[in-house]
């Protein structure tokens, strides 16, 4: 149970912020009627928290089932980086598959196929070979063997590296198993370091390394559910904030039982968030949130787009990631700036595409001209190119991205057996706006396309690779759009609408939460989302603070008790 001392202070701010947006009828809930646990307004009759926007009662929190997550390819790489300084993995691991928008959700469902196990093995020996390389072994092993079989030295290595790799102390059975393995290899090859090599390869192939195993323990505060153990919380924290394994200090805190209490968590969160690894990890969050994997396989018609190169997709990706990083970490700023920031990080070719001054070298912070047509995330070539066809724009895909990735809305698949043909440009329908009118003629199409196309059409002054264009097919552009009944003119007005839209900010919260817990929130977690959203807006939309709030939230700390 969380009692938050500072809650009283922020309550009035919460109401003020939301009140400005007209989302709360203050006469119904009253400024004093806040649930101390969640910070949400309460129903005066039941005393239960309600949705601040709708006033509907929220179901009480119920913990979601746990599911172990397999290390993603990135996490495997990061873990190796943290285990063994300057050891490199060149083996291509199996790429991870996103489910419901996140690899973190995919790895909570996936497993290790035969081909993936082969790749893990290959990578494990590549790493182990470097660990025992003549010029590095002394540093990694940490003791000098007295003979080819030196149980004391082997045991010390197994216990130390095993604890980091498994993110917990090894059981005596495990230590015995791995020491035995090392000694078998050392005897067979008459080389102490051969033992270290094989034992290292073993630790890196174990399911205890490859899976983030979480089984929980009874929650002393609530017999109906489990809580993640302190040592499990160490791993949950480090993978969320560093996208890698815990360091020694975090493991010690976990072993000491400090991470089942809010204070212990807060201490570690502060430390982890201020480490450089947190920035790389948030890049990973944004990579997944915005589906930037798609920029790796951009398939553009090179005959039409001379600016398209093999390296442009990577430049687009870097632009998105570094802009988000700049807002969150450099500036410690308002996350909503993502919608309307003039900041880009451009290399020469991207600067060319944006029409801004090229950096002297590499990639540099470059500002877009004030008042121009391009701004924010949705002005970035990454968004515009990824959500377009090889030759033509796709207002549908662009609108879909806004709905799914920025507003957390579901767009269902198109119904089977319905044929719509977006016509080629013709005298009656020369522009994309007119051509897409077919989507509104068929009722079964109009329902969903009506939610996507009118948003996407406001980006029509950016072509399929995100370059600015004055016209479509020689015809002047109409950039007006509509979102849920509100009309706007062009991307600049859309950015302002999104910035001030409660559901857009709540969506950022949902996305971080999903990423953190590895599943899409269930109805029983909705109260956590609403509560986090309240704190996010009350605190000025600071993503770093949101990370902390997510970690101490019930949703991150408790697990459903499975019936046996």
């Amino acid at each position: 149970m969380r009692i938050r001392a500072r809650l009283a202070m922020v309550c009035s701010v919460v109401l003020a912020t939301i009140g400005c947006e007209g989302n709360i009828e203050s006469d119904r809930t009253g400024p004093g009627a806040l649930d101390p646990e969640t910070g949400l307004p309460v129903d005066p009759e039941t005393g239960r928290p309600v949705d601040p926007e709708t006033g509907e009662p929220l179901p009480p929190f119920s913990a979601a089932p746990g599911a172990m997550r397999r290390l993603s390819a990135t996490q495997f790489q990061n873990a190796v980086r943290d285990l063994f300084e300057n050891v490199r993995v060149t083996t291509a691991l199996e790429p991870d598959a996103a489910v419901n928008g996140f690899i973190e959700i995919g790895v909570a469902r996936g497993t290790i196929s035969p081909a993936a196990a082969e790749k893990f093995e290959k990578a494990a020996y590549e790493i182990a070979g470097q660990v025992v390389a003549a010029d590095r072994r002394a540093k990694f092993v940490g003791c000098t063997p007295a003979a080819s079989v030196d149980t004391t030295c082997t045991r010390a290595y197994v216990e130390r590296v095993g604890r980091r790799a498994f993110r917990r102390p090894l059981s005596s059975d495990e230590v015995g198993r791995y020491v035995g393995l090392a000694e078998t290899a050392a005897r067979r090859l008459n080389d102490f370091y051969a033992g270290i090599e094989f034992v290292t390869a073993g630790l890196l192939q174990s399911p205890n390394f490859a899976f983030r195993v979480e089984v929980g323990e009874p929650d002393p505060g609530n017999a109906g559910r489990l809580r993640y153990t302190s040592i499990e919380m160490a791993t949950r924290l480090s993978f969320l904030i560093w996208n890698s394994i815990p360091d020694d200090a975090l493991l010690r805190a976990g072993e000491a039982g400090e991470l089942v209490a809010e204070q212990g968590l807060t201490t570690q969160i502060e430390r982890l968030v201020s480490d450089a690894r947190a920035r790389t990890a948030m890049n990973n969050f944004h990579f997944e949130r915005f589906n930037l994997e798609a920029l790796d396989t951009l398939n553009k018609d090179r005959a039409r787009f001379a600016a398209m190169t093999d390296t442009l997709g990577a430049a687009m990706r870097e632009d998105v990631l570094r802009t988000a990083d700049y807002i969150v970490f450099e500036q410690g700023g308002d996350y909503r700036d993502l919608f309307d920031t003039p900041v880009t990080f451009s290399n020469a070719e991207l600067a060319g595409l944006y029409g801004v001054a090229k950096p002297a070298s590499g990639t540099a912070l470059t500002l877009l001209p004030a008042g121009g047509p391009r701004l924010g995330l949705l002005g970035k070539a990454g968004f515009l190119a990824m959500n377009a066809h090889s030759r033509e724009t796709s207002p549908t895909l662009r609108g879909k991205f806004v709905r799914e990735r920025l507003l957390c809305e579901s767009i269902p698949a198109p119904p089977p057996e319905v044929v719509t043909i977006v016509p080629e440009p013709n005298p009656n329908a020369p522009t994309m706006r007119e051509r897409l009118a077919v989507h509104r003629q068929e009722a079964s199409c109009a329902r969903c396309h009506g939610a996507m196309d009118p948003i996407g059409l406001s980006f029509e002054n950016f072509d399929a690779i995100g370059s600015f264009r004055e016209n479509d097919n020689g015809h002047a552009l109409d950039l007006t759009g509509e979102i849920d009944g509100t009309t706007f003119d062009g991307p600049r007005e859309l950015a302002a609408l999104l910035r001030n839209r409660a559901s857009a900010n709540e969506c950022a919260v949902r996305q971080l939460y999903r990423y953190a817990v590895g599943h899409v929130e269930s109805a029983g977690e909705e109260v956590v989302i609403k509560s986090l959203s309240q704190r996010f807006s009350a605190g000025g939309y600071r993503l770093k603070n949101l990370i902390r709030e997510v970690v101490v939230s019930d949703g991150f700390r408790f697990m459903k008790k499975e019936s046996p």
């Binding site: 089932p65 746990g66 599911a67 172990m68 199996e94 790429p95 598959a97 489910v99 419901n100 928008g101 469902r109 996936g110 497993t111 290790i112 196929s113 035969p114 081909a115 993936a116 196990a117 093995e121 059975d173 495990e174 198993r177 791995y178 393995l181 078998t184 067979r188 090859l189 051969a194 094989f198 390869a201 073993g202 192939q205 174990s206 399911p207 205890n208 899976f211 089984v215 589906n291 018609d301 005959a303 066809h389 090889s390 030759r391 033509e392 799914e404 957390c408 579901s410 698949a413 198109p414 119904p415 089977p416 057996e417 044929v419 043909i421 016509p423 080629e424 899409v520 269930s522 499975e562």
Partner: protein, 453 residues
Amino acid sequence: MSRTGLSRRTMLRGAAGGLLSAIALPTLEAMLNSHGTAYAQGEPFPKRFGIFFWGNGVRLARWNPAQTGADWQLSEELAPLSDVKAYVSVVSGMEIKTGNQRGHHAGCVGILSGASMLPQDPGGAPYASTFTQPSIDQVVATKLDAKTRFRSLELGVSRRVTTGEGSTLRYLSHNGPDNANAPEYSPRAVFGRLFGTGFTPPGQTPVVDPRLELRRSVLDVVRQDANALRMRLGASDRQRLEQHLESIRALENQIRLIENVARPPSACRAPGEPAEPAREQLTEVSDAMAGLLALSLACDQTRVFSIQFSGSVGGTLYSEVGATREHHGLTHDEPGDQPTVHAISTFIMKKFATFLGKLKETGEGTGNVLDNCAILASSDTSEGQPHSLRDYPILVAGRAGGALKYPGVHYRSTTRENTSKVLLTLLQAMDIPASEFGVDGGRTNETVAALRA
């Protein structure tokens, strides 16, 4: 026996393959029976099962042959198969019976597994789906349990697959829900895996290396870890761990076969390392994969394969036929009778013909590898434009060691039969004792008699 000049012991070692044989020998004519259709000891050449899959369907009007039965003629889209026509049967008029819950997803899962897709649509997030059952290649791999070096081989040609809608669209081969076998898209990586370290070319002595035994010792420790862990996990995590254990077993088998290499069939030879074509150079990638596949089968590295030529809803840009727009978008929006979509289907068949051609030109006894293959070729929808599941485009290729009709026929169903019948026919052609295939609406206990020899 004495006629051959080989000792009975050598014969037995050769015929028994894998575990007993310490030295790899090339297949000598003396080791074949008098018809050249089997090893002299009577053990037939191994049968292999494969899938060739592409996304976004075909143009049915130009795909289905006009004639049925034995006298069928190649249609426009099938025309590239002329050199291997005798090895191909066309099945048309059938339907996926598991319901069209979602365009492309349902077709892909239905044709490959005879079951419904598992929707993963929690609301408020992009929808996804996965398989509920193993795809047929993995059904075959499990039933054959061939103990070849690789349980199955997954190859991919176009990387432009849909990545955001779950495992169904991203991968072809599935072991179960959210449990897929990702394809390898790089010919060079495939070469390294199949013919690099760990492959003993015919006639050479396998490497004896104490490290191999130690690698198995490592996996033994990993397995003990998994067994200890299994007791602590809930049901669904335990199931995922079981797959990891299966994968560890497969890896152990692979390592064991490095030292105890089976005597490879006669056409086995190690290919040279292929050049690595640029990404999306479809012809170069596909042709390199075809060569590697043929030799991997000839060398009995695996008996089950799948080729994801392009993905379901694939966004492949077929510049080879002058397309300036990605495939999926074209199937929806190209006006008229969709000449570019038609050209793409034809191009895909040209590449399928190359795969079949490589298998056919790879000799095995007096026949060839294609004689001993059963291959299913199909797509994620019948026609891309309406996402339909009716009149499904299906090809069956290879003779399955004489179990499949040769020369091939065009079987056109007039009663919209269940596509699972073709899959059951193929299972039986692989000598797998299956009496039914599929789940719910996709279930059948009938085969397609016209396809059987």
